[in-house]
């Protein structure tokens, strides 16, 4: 694989001139951004008097893609965008769309409207990228419009830089029946389908000729996954049913049940414990059942089969609708790309601090390990590690941050095993694991819209300063090769930096995280470890979500939807 050696050489810095550039970001979330580029700029510039604009192909128009496009200075790039959806969707409001609290149209903005401000110089094509050919530097795409229309649906585009912002897909964990019988909450169409299905369940449940058991089954709504999305949906559904639907279907109001299945011990377990227990108490009062410690093993058209983690006992419950909200996985096109660049064994596309593709850190770790392992024992002792720690900190600047932010002043803390016991020495695998742990702590920012959006903005800044930073690199010192890295890395500020408000434009700014719990109650984790609970938090949620809208049109529509809901309730027409 030629591309792989390319990448390896490029990242090892054997060619200080930018023979091949690779930019790659990946955040597996509602938005996911990957930038990847190769160019033989020097050659091209020599051949032509006027240098040809570099072509940037952007895949995806989610949070990352649109924020990248918004801030990109298009005067120096030929920008082409490919996405299977010709709109940007404000995904954090998807749970609200499922119940008609907000209309689907109110949270979308056509991509062409967003890029129109760029004088029409950005080209957009509504198509899905099916194949990234890293070697030929082209993407092959297929439009999904009706085959009856004239002309070919497929086309390929050459790129100099590729920004992969295709986001993730739902993760079924290969559990049988999930794809066939579950609903998801990933795309706008998913949310609309849930809305129709909720009404279907009620309409079916009131038909003549059903017995009470059948009515109960149809009105049993099950949410698998107790993360923020699943919990918000459960809360929305509870409000929808108890504020609107029970008035329209009075005959079956006592048969409705909502159940949340969570594999962990608590719902919202990535949040602060106070939020988690506030949510559990709220749900208990609302009559939403929470089954914790349950792992779903199979889903059929009418049953969910589970295993209780504690007792390994099998159990099953009947359902009218299941919403699967357990996490996200990598899209096939990205998976295929990962195989091309030697990341085939990873779950998620890896990027470095500059959001560039990462193809070779294993070699580097081995090199450092071998250099450190002076007695060639195959293991590193604490003393051996101490001698090379400076080198490691150079190669892994984030480790310095990690150590500081965790108030670990001794590298021996890295040697602790998963149970926290100190170890005298580690082998290469343990060493990799320790570094991977640092990575996961420091770099896997949460898979959220705000991360994706900020990554997009960061990347557009890199593109905008490409030439300038080539002559005046602003990044940290290189430790292989010479000079400085071209750009400052994208990273989470250390706690010190956050406290001192020294957060810079290349750093991730965490604005907090909300968990709306229904009944005008919400919980929020705010920056600085603040926790906010209750009705005022819901109003904070309204203001933040309204202000974060991508256009004035959607802002006004969302606010008027909220108002409409308060005045007239939610619409239950099955359209």
């Amino acid at each position: 694989m030629r591309i792989f050696s390319y990448l390896t050489r490029a990242l090892h810095g054997h060619h200080p001139s930018s023979y091949a550039k690779l930019l790659l970001v990946c955040s597996i979330s509602s938005g996911g951004l990957v930038a990847h580029a190769e160019s033989q700029s020097d050659k091209e510039t020599l051949n032509q008097g006027e240098p040809k604009k570099k072509r940037v192909v952007v895949l995806g128009t989610g949070w990352a893609g649109t924020s990248f496009l918004k801030d990109l200075d298009i005067s120096s790039y030929d920008v082409q965008v490919v996405s299977p959806r010709n709109y940007f969707a404000f995904t954090p409001l998807l749970p609200s769309v499922t119940c008609g609290t907000v209309e689907a149209r109110s949270i979308v903005e056509p991509v062409r409207n967003i890029i129109k401000k760029k004088n029409g110089q950005i080209l957009f094509w509504e198509a899905e990228c099916l194949k990234i050919n890293a070697e030929k530097r082209q993407v092959c795409c297929l439009s999904n419009v009706d085959d009856n229309l004239a002309g070919r649906n497929d086309f390929c585009l050459h790129y100099d830089y590729l920004v992969i912002a295709v986001g993730a897909q739902v993760n079924t964990f290969n559990i049988p029946g999930v794809l066939e019988y579950c609903h998801f909450l990933k795309e706008l169409e998913d949310a609309r389908k849930i809305r129709r299905t909720v009404i279907d369940c009620f309409e079916k449940a009131v038909l003549p000729g059903l017995n009470e058991e059948e009515r109960r089954t149809n009105l049993h709504f099950v949410i698998v996954g107790g993360g923020p999305t699943g919990i918000e949906f459960a809360a929305e559904l509870h409000d929808y049913i108890h504020e609107d639907l029970v008035n329209l279907y009075p005959g079956v109001k006592d048969l409705v049940k909502i159940t949340v299945i969570q594999s962990g011990d608590h719902i919202l377990n990535t949040f602060d414990e106070r939020i988690s227990s506030f949510a559990e108490q709220k749900f208990q009062r609302d009559g939403i059942e929470v089954l914790t410690g349950c792992r779903v093993v199979r889903v059929s058209d009418k049953l969910i089969h589970m295993k209780l983690k504690s007792t390994a006992e099998d159990m099953s419950i009947s359902h009218g609708m299941v919403v699967w909200s357990t996490g996200v996985g990598t899209r096939p096109v990205v998976k295929d790309f990962m195989e091309q660049i030697g990341q085939g064994s990873r779950l998620v596309l890896a990027t470095d601090e500059w959001l560039q593709v990462k193809g070779c850190e294993n070699e580097d770790i081995s090199t450092i390990f071998k250099a450190a392992d002076k007695d060639n024992s195959g293991t590193l002792t604490v003393d051996e590690l101490r001698e090379v720690i400076e080198d490691i900190l150079i190669r892994y600047p984030q480790m310095d941050l990690y150590l500081k932010s965790n108030h670990l002043f001794d590298v021996t803390d890295l040697f602790r095993d998963s149970d926290g016991n100190e170890r005298e020495e580690v082998d290469i695998e343990g060493f990799k694991l320790a570094l991977a742990h640092v990575d996961s702590q420091m770099k896997s920012l949460p898979a959220t819209a705000q991360v994706a959006a900020q990554q997009g903005t960061y990347l557009s800044r890199c593109f905008n300063h490409m030439e300038q930073c080539k002559s005046n690199p602003e990044g940290p010192l290189r430790f292989r090769g010479s000079g400085r890295h071209q750009f400052r890395p994208f990273r989470r500020p250390s706690n010190d930096e956050a406290r001192e408000s020294a957060v810079r434009e290349n750093m991730y700014k965490h604005f907090g995280q909300f968990a709306p719990l229904g009944g005008e109650q919400a919980a929020a984790e705010l920056p600085g470890d603040w926790v906010s609970l209750g009705r005022s938090t819901q109003w904070l949620w309204y203001s933040v979500y309204a202000s974060k809208q991508v256009s004035w049109r959607t802002r006004i529509l969302v606010v008027s939807d909220w108002t409409r809901r308060k005045v007239f309730g939610r619409d239950s027409s099955r359209i």
Copy 2:
């Protein structure tokens, strides 16, 4: 067929006691209403101390069905409603939904919201009636929700009175390819599909790798049918494209074309001639091509094949999207019912002046004809007719109105052939034709929402006064049997009545008809043969359509949609 003899006897009045009642209305339009009832009330009343409430089953929740339900006094009936859609849709705004001028959600109101005001005593089931069994007095229905839900999807209901308000379906005239390749504008889902397809056509047309011919084909929008719906859609589409889409797809704006195919010589040919030519001039200025005198003979995925009526020449045009809007036909369930009651040879279910099922007028005409044809020649002379005209006017009260309203004071005018030439005598077929002509002039009210709604209201009034009118019949004198008809007939007022404002609650009130032509221009035919054209008419249209909304919710939503469109344009997200 036992039911048929039932009907015949009932309508002939052989049983003056109400052994079998038949109520039936049919207006083939956006709303279509049919009431049909049979009851053995006397028997039942004798058997029980407290008379059981009669069950009224209503099929359909369009204009007729909902207006019937709104005004029905439910204290004396057990009302059950079956409709495949759990909402009422304000169908006159469907063309606006196709282009996002108004959102689909803004023109629907859940049926359960409408009937909720009746204290929950009206039962509603979301299902489609597949079979009316007139003999057993039951309807068999099938719910179209997901089969995965628990319980049976089918059920049958017994009725004492049946109100058939299922509306019509599109009429393809069995032209090959229409069902497969054309879009329709009958249901809400049709309008949303058109909206998506318009965007598909644009997205496909801008893809790389298409030649100009292919782009042109994809951007050729063809409307078959120059009636009010087709014309309004063409106008909406023109506005959508030229106000919104050309800004987003600037590269292809010169390739867009809209064509209207009309079999007659003019578009809007049911309107006043001034409106028709105003529309044609407007379309010519807008660049909308109107092909008149063309009959479509076949539609394929990319071509429409036509025959020019004048020269019988074949021609074909390529298209990206075809909207078929040529007229309506009878639904299969009604067709099947018509066969059961001996109307199998008719195109449309026939009703009498009381909106009751009509199964036997042909016998009556033969009877009158035979009585009049004194010399048994098989033909009626003018003199023979003069002798029986009084009888005819009794049997056909509408003929009197017809003669008056057309200022015909002599029955000889009825003898004119289709070219207007006087005839000396007519045979039985000519006589039937003459009466049918009166019928079509007097009774086939236009297939519009306002007719259906008023028929629904009329019928609910009949039901509300059922008992009272049994003892004190308010209708005209019966001429077969004795006494008076139970109710005043539903009819169009004569011109005299209209002029003198003597229009009564049983009479059809015509509020006029609009033809919006795009660019804030509209044409309207108002009562009293007024014609209104231009921008002020569009504002009149806005006010009338806003005021006619079924609920305050939809009224506010529709008005805010119009405002949003003016401020932000129409949304082009392909969702």
